[in-house]
């Protein structure tokens, strides 16, 4: 199968959906013909579909999302890009109080079918205002869907589902994933929300990981298998809302051990929710305490060594694995 990057997979999804449905349009800062988006996801789309459908906006996240909400409830399907996930904070009233609640407040007589694409994640040395992982904010807001694709295949399939859906979706990308290559079929496909993917089969321990951490977990699992003959199973939820709790419970029941690897900070984070689900539904199958490998509760440091120190990596994942496997 052909291999393309995560960035190209996202662009393909946008292009295919814009071709399929004339009401789909893009808006965001520098996404048009002059720049093609800060991470080049929308490159070439303005030329292909025109500036009416690929709209450069002023530097106002609140206005971008407000515009998208208005456009969505009046019958179009906007896909807004927020250049850095951190800046969703500027549009939080529109996201959390408007987009998330419109369908509910109007008894489903109005709906808000929109997508907010935005990159999270640290590791490129751009300090604390451009490096956070804030997926949990959106998980904590009923009315929003939250997608967290980790591969080009998932990125394309989930983005198409997000665009076709009736609910506002916060589509969380990761800066370091854009250049990653992966197999993506030529033919049309979509991926349903709420369906986790087993990225690796194993019997000894379950790792639930999201976004870029899926790749670090895969590396750690490979190393562990090679050096210690331990087989880790890696579950990628792919969407946090809705969350495929059954897949997590099933895997925990199989392995009896769970570690969760996410890049957001540990307290009240994505990993906390997943740990709670395992404790609620599979406690009798746990053979060791649940471990969370997440960022410490700190702003992301600008100093490169300190930044690398706070981000979970293969070493910290292996350390946690060994702790729950208690064989060392």
């Amino acid at each position: 199968m052909r291999k393309i990057t995560y960035r190209d997979a996202l662009r393909e999804a946008l292009r295919e959906e814009m071709k399929r449905d004339p009401t789909v349009f893009l808006l965001g800062e520098d996404i048009g013909k002059y720049w093609g988006g800060a991470f080049k996801v929308t490159e070439g789309l303005a030329e292909e579909f025109g500036e009416e459908r690929v709209r450069d906006t002023p530097i106002s996240e609140n206005a971008i999302i407000g515009t998208a909400v208005g456009a969505a409830i009046t019958g179009t399907c906007p896909v807004a890009e927020i250049m850095f996930g951190d800046l969703t904070a500027l549009a939080m009233d529109q996201i959390a109080n408007q987009a998330a609640k419109i369908r509910y407040m109007f008894g489903a007589q109005a709906k808000c079918p929109m997508v907010i694409r935005t990159p999270f994640g640290a590791g490129v040395n751009i300090a604390s205002h451009h490096s956070q992982s804030l997926e949990a904010w959106f998980m904590h807001t009923p009315g929003l869907h939250v997608a967290v694709p980790s591969t080009p295949y998932d990125a394309k399939g989930l983005l198409k589902t997000a665009i076709r859906g009736n609910n506002p979706t916060v589509f969380c990308e990761h800066k370091l994933l854009y250049p990653i290559e992966g197999e993506v079929p030529e033919q049309e496909y979509t991926i349903p929300f709420g369906k986790a993917d087993t990225k690796r089969e194993g019997e000894d321990v379950t790792i639930v990981a999201t976004l870029y951490m899926v790749h670090k977990a895969l590396n750690a699992a490979k190393q562990l298998e090679k050096e210690n003959a331990i087989n880790a199973e890696i579950i990628d939820p792919r969407t946090l809302t809705p969350l495929d709790t059954q897949a997590i419970i099933k895997s925990v029941k199989k392995t009896g051990r769970l570690i969760i690897v996410t890049e957001d900070c540990k307290t009240a984070g994505v990993s906390a929710e997943i740990a709670a689900i395992a404790a609620e539904h599979a406690v009798d199958y746990l053979d060791a305490p649940i471990k969370r490998v997440a960022e410490p509760d700190t702003p992301i440091p600008f100093s490169p060594p300190l930044e690398q120190y706070v981000i979970p990596n293969e070493k910290t994942i292996i350390k946690a694995l060994k702790e729950v496997l208690q064989t060392w």
Binding site: G256, D284, Y285, D287, A288, Q326
Partner: protein, 371 residues
């Protein structure tokens, strides 16, 4: 340093133990970890090791004496070290609930242990701080499985068997059973059996029914704190079938001629074997007879068919040497076993009833004339 030797807790449920042999005497030197005394619990015998090196200064609990968990059994001190015996003795042994060590076990291990009835305190944990993990339970089950007999089949009690089990255990638990045995000469009954072509069972049913007439307290049931005495004498007969025991009832057995009783028994027994007994065939019994004579049983202790007051067991008829007027005579003899509910009737009236049956069987010829 004054070190106390205390009664160990050898299992989760152990509350006290017995001191066995003291391997060391007062004044002897003991090494740490050296066995000094034998401790006997309900489950195991264990050599208790010295908790410290020193002189076994004082033995407080002698051989053969029980002591609660954590009670001080002896004191180890350095040579000539002063210590107050009274202080140690008057010190109440700490309650074992307080000292009970929490067994560290993972939830998965606990679940598996529960499923297999494994006592967690017996499993050695391999996890951090000795935590018992699932693998430890699996190993434990595997290791101990060689000690338990291999199971061929498990039968889930259901339907008839379950009801039967419940009734039998209810009877055995609630009615204090006492059983009287009496040997009966069946010479006359044998003649009757041959002359009229009736079964021995029919003869005994009739004799019993007649006897019940004269001992109404036996022809009764107990319900709560009330004894219900019946006007009707309905004798149930225990019949073994493929599916278990059934008790068809011969109604008004005291009023039926012997021949009719015999016919009724044949019909009911046949129906029972074919599983064709109707509800009216098996309800309304006031007394039960169980015959195991055909299996060569001499006597036994039958369990009362609740809520009835008594049950009569019939043994095998055997020729036995009987002494009559100083002469040994061979006579066909049979033993009757009467189990009765001691709440309803005492030993003497029960014995009187049984003797009445005996007399009626022994005078069997008269049975046919009476009615």
């Amino acid at each position: 340093m004054v070190t106390k030797v205390v009664m160990p807790k050898l299992s989760l449920t152990m509350k006290e133990g017995t001191v066995g042999k003291w391997y060391k005497q007062e004044g002897e030197t003991v090494e740490k970890d050296e066995p000094i005394v034998e401790v006997i619990s309900e489950k195991a015998t264990y050599d208790l090791e010295a908790p410290a090196t020193g002189i076994l200064r004082k033995i407080l609990i002698e051989e053969g004496v029980d002591a609660p968990v954590n009670a001080v059994l002896a004191v180890i001190t350095a040579p000539d070290e002063p210590f107050s015996e009274t202080e140690i003795i008057t010190e109440a042994p700490p309650s074992f609930e307080e000292k009970e060590k929490r067994i560290l076990a993972s939830p998965a291990a606990k679940r598996l242990a529960k499923e297999h009835g494994v006592d967690l305190s017996l499993v050695k944990g391999s996890g951090p701080e000795g935590r018992v993990v699932e693998e430890d339970i699996k190993k434990f089950i595997e290791e101990t499985s060689v000690l338990t007999p291999k199971v061929k089949e498990i039968i889930q009690l259901s339907g008839f068997r379950k009801i039967s089990a419940e009734r039998v255990s209810t009877s055995f638990k609630t009615a204090p059973h006492s059983t009287l045995m009496m040997t009966v000469d069946v010479s006359n009954a044998t003649k009757l059996h041959e002359a009229l072509q009736v079964s021995y069972t029919a003869i005994i049913v009739r004799a019993t029914a007649k006897a019940l007439r004269g001992h109404p307290i036996i022809n009764s049931t107990m319900e709560g704190d009330r004894i219900k005495i019946y006007e009707d004498v309905n004798v149930g007969l225990a019949v073994a079938t493929e599916n278990g025991l059934v008790v068809p009832v011969i109604r008004n057995a005291d009023k039926k001629p012997l021949k009719e009783i015999d016919t009724t028994i044949r019909e009911l027994t046949e129906k029972a074997r074919q599983g064709k007994l109707a509800k009216e065939d098996i309800t309304g019994g006031t007394f039960t007879i169980s015959n195991l004579g055909m299996y060569d049983v001499e006597s036994f202790t039958p369990i009362i068919n609740p809520p009835e007051a008594a049950i009569l067991g019939i043994g095998k008829i055997t020729e036995k040497p009987i002494i009559i007027n100083g002469n040994v005579v061979a006579k066909p003899m049979m033993t009757l076993s009467l189990s009765y509910d001691h709440r309803i009737v005492d030993g003497a009236p029960a014995a009187d009833f049984l003797r009445n049956i005996k007399q009626r069987i022994e005078q069997a010829r008269e049975l046919e004339n009476e009615s």
